[in-house]
């Protein structure tokens, strides 16, 4: 029943799927980021305690949540790669790790820029901030392990094991605000029945999160396709793809000459 899913272990099939999904992620990213950020910056009401500084939430919360979601996606790919020996899964790890690292950096930086006016400090070594910093190091570790091996299949396996071990950090980040005393405020939107935010602030946040999902998706897909072509450039499916392209170019060039 689940056999069809194994066809995506083949790069040509995965490449086709990535190309098919690209326009949707692009549209979601463009719409979500434009609408969410504009709404949050201009139209959402100011916070009664934090004034306009709270508007950083419209990039801080999406990047913080999604840096963890992206990590889980990477770890899932790692599991698939190790258990089923998918080459494409390792390529996916190398594609999403830099994107996750950038998103994680954004969450840390925006947090610092929000912390300075509200807490009086850019940085503090408390549980939430430290575990999020470890997440950034995990991303960087996965990237460098993959790059450290000449044999990319070996590098993929090493990076996948590191990604799997690092999953332990995700629940630590999530519950750090409950387990330890911290400056960081508690969850804002995860309790949907009773969110600690009014609707006119919550909607732009949700739309902005959607926009970040689209952004992570489109960049990961571009990098995933890049990696597949680099790794397989001497394989028939890539040769064929580029042969078709150059054939088309030659045809269009000859047509121009005729005209």
């Amino acid at each position: 029943m689940w056999k069809w899913i194994n066809s995506f272990a083949k790069p040509e099939k995965a490449y086709w799927l990535a190309s098919a999904m690209q326009p949707y992620f692009f549209a979601i990213a463009l719409l979500g980021l434009t609408v969410g950020i504009t709404w949050g910056l201009v139209f959402a009401p100011a916070d009664y305690q934090q004034g306009d500084s709270y508007r950083i939430i419209y990039i801080h919360v999406p990047s913080a949540i999604l840096s963890q979601t992206a990590y889980i996606a990477m770890a899932t790919a790692a599991l698939v790669g190790i258990v089923w020996q998918w080459r494409t899964a390792f390529m996916f790890i190398s594609a999403i790790a830099p994107v996750g690292a950038v998103i994680c950096f954004i969450s840390l930086f925006t947090g610092a820029a929000w912390g300075k006016p509200m807490w009086g400090t850019w940085w503090i070594w408390d549980a939430r901030l430290t575990s999020q910093l470890i997440l950034l190091f995990l991303y960087l570790g996965v990237m460098s392990l993959y790059l450290a091996f000449e044999d990319k299949q070996q590098g993929g396996k090493a990076a996948a094991i590191m990604a799997l071990v690092g999953v332990i950090n995700i629940p630590i980040i999530k519950y750090s605000v409950e387990w330890w005393n911290t400056l960081h405020q508690g969850a804002t939107i995860s309790k949907f029945d009773q969110p600690s935010m009014p609707a006119e602030m919550l909607w732009p946040l949700l739309i902005s999160i959607l926009g970040f999902v689209g952004f992570i998706g489109i960049i990961t897909l571009i990098r995933f396709k890049n990696e597949m072509i680099i790794r397989d450039k001497h394989r028939p499916w890539v040769m064929q793809m580029f042969a078709e392209n150059s054939e088309l170019q030659r045809l269009s060039a000859s047509k121009k000459e005729v005209n």
Partner: protein
């Protein structure tokens, strides 16, 4: 929907938090732009190198084919000429 700010300068000021808000949004935009640019740059580089390598492979194959054909033509020529000599010899023998 009503804008929360009376003027553009009030919007930039962000109720006194302008520096922090725009620092956060600026660095975010910069990071996102950089990784987008890098991904697209790599994409273009790969396309270029793969196309070049393929054109080179095709040129090598064509050159090899050409040489092979030249060699074959030469052999045919040789056999033709030797046939000619043989037949000349035959005629001579008949005489």
């Amino acid at each position: 929907m009503q804008s929360q700010f009376d003027s553009f300068s009030a919007f930039l000021n962000m109720g006194g938090y302008g520096f922090f808000v725009w620092l956060a949004f600026g660095i975010t935009a910069l990071s996102m732009l950089l990784i987008t640019a890098h991904s697209l740059f790599v994409k273009q580089q790969i396309r270029k190198t793969v196309a070049q390598e393929q054109a080179r492979a095709i040129r090598i194959l064509e050159a090899r084919e050409k040489r092979k054909r030249a060699r074959q033509a030469k052999t045919v020529e040789q056999t033709e000429s030797s046939k000619q000599t043989n037949s000349n010899l035959d005629i001579e023998q008949k005489d």
